[in-house]
Amino acid sequence: MKKIKEITTRLEIAKKKIKNLKKNNSESNAASLGKALKISTELVAAVVVGSTIGYLFDNWFDTKPLLTICFFFMGVAAGILNVFRSAKKMHKKI
């Protein structure tokens, strides 16, 4: 009888430990680091894509610096929008 009691208490302690581990994992696991890396490139990529589109249009319509500048700022806006959206998605999950 004593042995069974001992085993049950030990089981409970082990279960608690697993629970705590899971809690810690969900807060600071590798996934959050992945999210951080994800957001930083999203901002840059949109700016690059916007500027490239502007540059291509400039070559096409012969309006050298004008469209590049316009599309650069639109790219910045798109980048911020991207970051804002992924931040919102993260917030929803928490």
Binding site: G34, L37, K38, T41, A45, F71, L81
Partner: protein
Amino acid sequence: MQQFEVYKIGPEINLGGINLSFTNSSLFMIISSGLILLLLFFGTKKKSLVPSKIQLITEMSYTFVAKMINDTAGSSAKTFFPFIFTLFMFVLFSNMVGMLPYSFTVTSHIIVTFVLAAFVFVGVTVLGFVKHGIKYLELFVPKGVPIVLLPLIIIIEIISYLSRPVSLSVRLFANMMAGHTMLKVFGGFVISLGLLGGWLPLGFSVALTGLEILVAFLQAYVFAILTCIYLNDALNLHH
């Protein structure tokens, strides 16, 4: 740098003006695909109730990807499991094989990662149009925007959509390239500081190797999870 150089192995093959020679990059792609095949073959060979180590790894990677798809893209994306599993395992194994000394990191070249990302991008776009028809373009028109602002918003949304493959490929490429360059730089410090001061950068390089292994796994995970998110956008419009 020498570790990023691509060189021919065997004869030069030219098909219609396109250079199709077998390079060290192709060799390491074949090695990583072969390793995946070996792992899955031996992992599923003996289906015992109490799994062996190799079977455990196989089953864990299966459930890991299945859970990821279920959490981010919903159950309707289950049909794309083979694609995402292949993508995840290929990126993971190319990154990990690249961590071995004297090997070549396939994913440290932007053209490789860009082709992977472009496949995802084109596939998701085609899927969206097949599933929703012309209504898929509603993705670019957010709800509740005044008509005056609409042209500007649509351009911004299109740029944001087009930036997906760029960010997806640049992230993987930049992380792998930067990590390997950093290891090389610290390795160079060890040599130049000599026996007296070289111990500190040596310790750093050991720590950075650990970090690199984490990054190698993480980037594969991020690549796969973003594919799932894009799939979710294409499958369930207006979530």
